[in-house]
């Protein structure tokens, strides 16, 4: 049951987008997000759709995967749709029941919102589909490095993120082992009232915490033994390298952004 969790949803295939510099990918994704929220017109959505489809095609990620990342958020989408439908007032009234009514404005706004959120998810999930978590944290560190001047422990924060990501599969495996061991001693995890089920988690959570702390001490000790002392003067195994394709991608994004701004102002 725990193997279904896909936190690092990296989809390892060979494509232009996969090979792009992760720093650029993050910047482009952020520009894309700002763009989606900047534009208040339908042209924004069209441009956003164009961007998403183009990027997905370049990345060779199957559209099925994009749908997979939208699916878990369907309840939230439904919730916003209903809220917008009922709350926004204006234009022709299509349906009314006591104080609840659905109006023209409401329909338009909710459609706009839902499309916007879908594009948002599709665009951002593309980032995690095409970039491995480790590279992603490297890139975040690189992008945040100016903050080092302000005495922000950027490297340490990135290191913490990397370690956390690295140990997720290990801990999942550990959890499965502990569950099996407690089941072998007759632990009942599948039946009983809610209270009983929560209580049944104790024999799993305590050993899990203990082992997580043990791993943490071991790791700290091992790092200490190798004289690890943070970011100062450290070189990397994987250097982030930017190239022509990154500049081209950034240029296209900026161009699309300009279109959105222009459409906002002119139309």
């Amino acid at each position: 049951m725990l193997s279904d969790i896909t936190l690092g949803q990296y989809f390892p295939i060979e494509s232009v987008v996969h090979r792009m510099d992760a720093r650029f990918k993050i910047i482009i994704t952020m520009l894309f997000l700002v763009m989606l929220f900047w534009g208040q017109r339908w042209t924004t959505l069209l441009v956003g759709l164009f961007f998403t489809v183009l990027a997905t095609l370049c990345s060779k990620i199957p559209f099925k995967m994009i749908w997979k990342s939208i699916k878990p958020l369907l309840p939230i989408l439904l919730f916003t749709t209903i809220l917008n439908l009922l709350m926004i007032d204006g234009g022709d009234v299509y349906w009314q029941w006591k104080f609840l009514k659905i109006t023209e404005e409401g329909v338009i706004t909710s459609a706009f919102m839902v499309s916007r959120i879908c594009l948002l998810i599709a665009g951002t999930s593309l980032l995690t589909y095409t970039t491995s978590p480790i590279v992603l944290t490297d890139a975040i560190e690189a992008l945040l490095s100016p903050l080092k001047k302000l005495k922000m422990p950027v490297h340490e924060l990135a290191m913490m993120m990397t370690i956390a990501l690295r140990f997720i599969p290990t801990l999942i495996e550990e959890t499965n082992k502990i569950i099996a061991a407690q089941k072998a001693r007759g632990a009942d995890l599948e039946s009983g009232s809610l209270k009983q089920r929560i209580k049944a988690l104790v024999p799993i959570l305590i050993p899990l915490f203990v082992s997580a702390f043990r791993r943490a001490t071991d790791l700290a000790l091992a790092m200490e033994c190798r004289c690890y002392h943070g970011g100062e003067g450290r070189t990397r195994l994987r250097q982030l390298q930017s190239g022509m394709r990154d500049y081209i991608a950034l240029a296209i994004t900026l161009l699309l952004f300009a279109v959105v701004i222009a459409a906002n102002a002119l139309l």
């Binding site: 061991a181 072998a184 001693r185 007759g186 024999p203 082992s211």
Partner: protein
């Protein structure tokens, strides 16, 4: 009737994905009651998967596991009861300890069985003694104990359910030689006293040779042979082809045989070897 039987037992991981792998391949085994079975095989030969199927933690892809002739995946069968009857001690079981005192941790299994207070108390004290835990340790926190003691607490936790079949996955891994001998000797005594069936997975040929009454050799998801240690170690060549070691004493006697000294093939305990040598040196042996 054998107490534990498998019929065409098969388990395949991640069916239909590129990682598909058959860990147990059509195994047919019959384990008689009261046997002390040593299970040997390489890493990845299917030992752990086989064990987890035997107490119903894993559902076979195909085939059956019969406990006392009853299919444990039968609609009427209660898997939780099966787990009480087939106790499984995982590798490094000390990582499953969670209660505040040793006593309560050993009592976890019996409590889940729904036994009354008095019976639980009897079982906890008896098994603690059986694995050599002193009375005063029972009220201590398990995390305060040494590695070897924790291991024994965890083994006692499964023993306390008084299973008919006790399966142990490398109970001595990572312990010093003294701790190993201690645990195995206690296990042997427990086996003699209760008459339960024991399945012991081990990487040490010396250990299984010394304690087991039968050996099960697994290789690449198949059961290669299931026989007495003497018969298994007599097929030294096949074992070595599978990449499995022989007990050191067996290797010594093979070397002696190669030099033309007529010794039997199946010497696998130091005690037996020493007797043979002594007899030969004193000239009581008539073979040569």
């Amino acid at each position: 009737m054998p107490i534990l039987e498998t019929k065409d037992l098969t388990y395949t991981y991640s069916i239909g994905s590129p990682f598909e792998k058959t860990a147990v391949d059509h195994m047919n085994l019959q384990i008689e009651e009261g046997e002390f079975v040593g299970i040997i095989g390489h890493t990845g030969s299917g030992k752990s998967t086989l064990m987890q199927m035997m107490n119903g933690l894993l559902k076979p892809t195909s085939g059956q596991v019969l406990l006392d002739g009853q299919d444990i995946w039968d609609k009427k069968a209660d898997r939780r009861q099966v787990r009480f009857r087939v106790g499984l001690v995982f590798q490094y079981p000390e990582y499953q300890l969670f209660e505040q005192t040793v006593y309560e941790d050993i009592a976890f299994g019996p409590k889940n069985m729904g036994l009354d207070e008095k019976e639980i108390d009897r079982r906890v004290r008896e098994t603690a003694e059986a694995v050599g835990l002193r009375e005063e340790l029972l009220q201590q926190a398990p995390y305060a104990l040494s590695g070897g003691q924790k291991r024994r607490v965890a083994i006692a936790g499964v023993m306390a359910m008084e299973p008919n079949v006790l399966i142990l996955d490398e109970p001595t891994a990572g312990l010093d030689p003294k701790g190993r001998v201690k645990i195995l000797t206690q296990l042997q005594q427990y086996h003699k006293r209760t008459g339960c069936t024991i399945l012991l997975v081990s990487h040490s040929m010396e250990d299984v040779a010394r304690y087991a009454s039968k050996l099960l050799v697994l290789c690449q998801a198949k059961a290669v042979c299931y026989d007495t240690p003497a018969n298994v170690f007599a097929q030294s060549q096949q074992l070595e082809e599978m990449g499995l070691d022989l007990p050191q004493i067996t290797r010594v006697f093979h070397k002696l045989r190669e030099r033309g000294i007529a010794f039997p093939e199946e010497v696998y305990t130091v005690k037996f070897g020493a007797e043979l040598l002594k007899a030969r040196l004193e000239g009581r042996d008539s073979a040569c």
